[in-house]
């Protein structure tokens, strides 16, 4: 049993005034210990909801419609809030997008990290706690932790706050870390530092990570495997090499082609036509069909299943059906 996290046919819906929003639709994936899975997609594609639904951090109008979540061999799909409390922090933890709002403004950073440590070790002594907090701050690269731990979040810069959030997330030695766009709100140089930190910690602690982002550049730097999400579904999943050099889904092609690195020297950037569909009443067939220049007739009729490319690489597009016309990928790896 090497799968640390296994999600099967998960569907999550929000009930809103305009109807039921199917934010995550029939998603299956697994995560091995120590592995980094990047989840890529446009905003509103359900990547963040996916993470929060596994940790059960969604608001009360969200519901798991079907499917199962198995962590470390235990099926937690039906776990109540009380049971989840025992898992959070120890089994899995989360880092959020905006470090400016993720910390409580009226508590010292040290106290907030200490809180997280105490969850794991309730009986820890005062000096032990202090040492552990210092050690965590040191781990995430915060200089002079003894001084910094007495300070409030507003004394910290964005990058430092994100480091503090990581210290909090890592305080309980979690097996799985969910990182929800952890570098999106940061400057390029700070982003690079935080990504380095992620890799460092990955190497030191071997924490399995689900890394949510919309930036393919970031994905390339951190991911072992990549899942591409569109309109609540995983449309393609594979190792980083497979996705970057041998993508099969037209949506993945579109995303890569719209990167400026791909259009270097050209007059215009590639854009995917149209807009993502609303998830209240998704259209019949493949939801990407109306934006897909390679769409086949069957795309408007029936949803494509996950076609196997290799043992690690799957894509949900009818182009992979043996009856489909052969299409040459327009992105054969990006030449930078």
């Amino acid at each position: 049993m090497s799968e640390l996290l296994e999600v099967k046919n998960l569907s999550v819906s929000f009930s809103t005034s305009s109807g039921e929003v199917q934010a995550v639709r029939n998603v299956s994936f697994s995560l091995k210990a120590g592995e980094v899975l990047a989840v890529v997609g446009e905003s509103g594609c359900g990547k963040s909801v996916l993470c929060k639904s596994i940790m059960k951090l969604l608001p009360s109008n969200a519901k798991i419609k079907q499917g199962s979540i198995t962590v470390n061999g235990a099926d937690i799909t039906a776990y109540r809030e009380r049971d989840m409390c025992r898992l959070r922090g120890k089994l899995f933890s989360m880092v959020f997008q905006d470090p400016m709002t993720a910390l409580n403004p009226t508590m010292t950073v040290g106290a907030q990290i200490a809180e997280a440590v105490r969850v794991r070790e309730p009986g820890i002594s005062k000096t032990g706690l202090r040492d552990r907090v210092m050690q965590l701050m040191d781990l995430v690269g915060i200089d002079s932790p003894g001084e910094r731990m007495e300070q409030y979040p507003y004394h910290f810069s964005g990058g430092m706050r994100q480091r503090s959030v990581m210290a909090i997330a890592l305080a309980g030695n979690p097996r799985i870390l969910f990182a929800d766009e952890p570098t999106t709100a940061l400057d390029v140089t700070i982003q690079a530092q935080i990504l380095d930190l992620f890799r460092d910690i990955q190497k030191k602690l071997g924490t399995a990570t689900v890394f949510v982002t919309h930036d393919f550049g970031v994905v390339a730097g951190v991911a072992d495997r990549v899942a591409v999400m569109y309109a609540g579904k995983i449309v393609e999943i594979g190792t980083a090499e497979e996705i970057f050099y041998d993508a099969r889904h037209p949506y993945t092609w579109g995303l890569m082609k719209s990167l400026p690195a791909f259009s270097k020297g050209q007059d215009t950037l590639y854009t995917i036509p149209g807009m993502p569909p609303t998830l209240v009443n998704p259209p019949k067939g493949d939801v990407f069909a109306c934006r897909n220049e390679y769409a086949l007739e069957i795309d408007y009729q029936e949803e494509p299943p996950m076609f196997r490319v290799t043992d690690t690489h799957y894509a949900a597009t009818w182009l992979l059906d043996e009856r489909a016309p052969k299409v040459v990928s327009p992105v054969g790896g990006i030449k930078v």
């Binding site: 025992r86 898992l87 400016m100 709002t101 993720a102 809180e115 309980g172």
Partner: protein, 330 residues
């Protein structure tokens, strides 16, 4: 510390000075005859000469500015004039009643403060579930009942039919004053005062907490495995306190002075009636003193709230100390 306290005190004096100017002029600019409260019905039969003499006696014959200067000079010597209606020193008139008001309004305020906090937390804890719905609905219903009607119904039930509680006054006349007697007299008016204000503040604190619950740091607190109770009390409640305290601070004089109807119905000798009457019947000196008192109370309460807020939220303090805030649009 001493320096800031001194500055605060100066601010207080200055605000009260401006307040006194505004009230003085507005009171005299509004229509009405101040003589009526002193001489009663007799005013109508007065000859112009008599009237002039009467005005001179009350110091109402010179220009408004002159009147104000005289009032100010007297006020500096601790003389706030006499009440036209009660024909006593205003401080004496107020002194008789202020204790009653503080007992009714002050204890009422404490009940409102604690009760709304409790109800608000309960609502936020059970957000969108039965207890929340019930409390909110009940609050709406009770808030719709007019105070005087509620008072009358309570009197009817508990004083007239059941004869458990007295219907009026602050104490029974004729027997020796005792604490138990006072408390018995307080129950009904206090119930009305608390019931009138409680829901509004409870609803407010519920929404303040829920606003905090929706923030990212609560999500992080959950993600690190904290229990709901700790998140609620250690994080959310603590962070709503600054806003709650500011609101409550402003509400102190509102609750203290807003007991007019209750005082009238229960014939309770407090300041609420006095404030109303002094404004209604142009009892200028009394009105001035009461207004300034409540003004000073508002300012003092706000200062107290600010000091408390600084202790709770370190950001406020650092802003006041003149450190450059981060995240300005550079």
């Amino acid at each position: 510390m001493v320096k800031t306290a001194g500055r605060k005190f100066l601010e207080l004096l200055l605000s009260i000075f401006f307040l006194s100017v505004i009230i003085f002029y507005i009171a005299r600019l509004t229509p009405g005859d101040p003589l009526i409260s002193y001489y009663g019905e007799r005013v109508e039969k007065m000859s112009p000469e008599e009237r002039e003499r009467a005005e001179e006696r009350l110091g109402l014959n010179s220009s408004v500015s002159n009147q104000y200067l005289r009032w100010l000079a007297d006020a500096f010597h601790g003389e706030f004039g006499i009440s036209y209606k009660y024909k006593m020193d205003v401080t004496e008139v107020i002194g008789e009643r202020i204790g009653n008001t503080f007992i009714l309004g002050g204890i009422g305020f404490l009940f409102i403060f604690g009760g709304s906090l409790l109800l608000g937390i309960l609502c936020a804890w059970y957000e969108d579930r039965l207890p929340d719905h019930m409390i909110c609905k009940m609050g709406t219903a009770v808030s719709c009942i007019p105070e005087f009607w509620l008072s009358l119904i309570l009197i009817l039930i508990f004083a007239v039919n059941l004869r458990w509680l007295p219907s009026s006054g602050a104490y029974t006349i004729g027997i020796k004053r005792s604490a138990a007697d006072r408390i018995l007299h307080l129950i009904l008016p206090m119930t009305v005062v608390v019931a009138g204000h409680l829901w509004y503040y409870a609803y407010m604190i519920r929404n303040l907490i829920l606003e905090e619950v929706r923030t990212d740091y609560v999500l992080l607190a959950k993600a690190k495995g904290l229990k709901k109770r700790r998140i609620m009390f250690r994080h959310c409640l603590r962070n709503t306190f600054p806003s709650y305290l500011s609101i409550m601070a402003v509400s102190v004089p509102h609750i203290l002075g807003g007991t007019y109807i209750v005082e009238t119905v229960f014939s309770y000798p407090g300041l609420g009636t006095l404030i109303y009457e002094s404004a209604r019947y142009k009892d200028y000196n009394l009105l001035m003193f009461l207004s300034l008192m409540s003004g000073a109370l508002v300012i003092l309460c706000n200062m107290a709230a600010q000091v408390l807020n600084e202790r709770i939220d370190p950001r406020i303090k650092s802003e006041n100390m003149g450190k450059a805030p981060e995240g300005i649009g550079l």
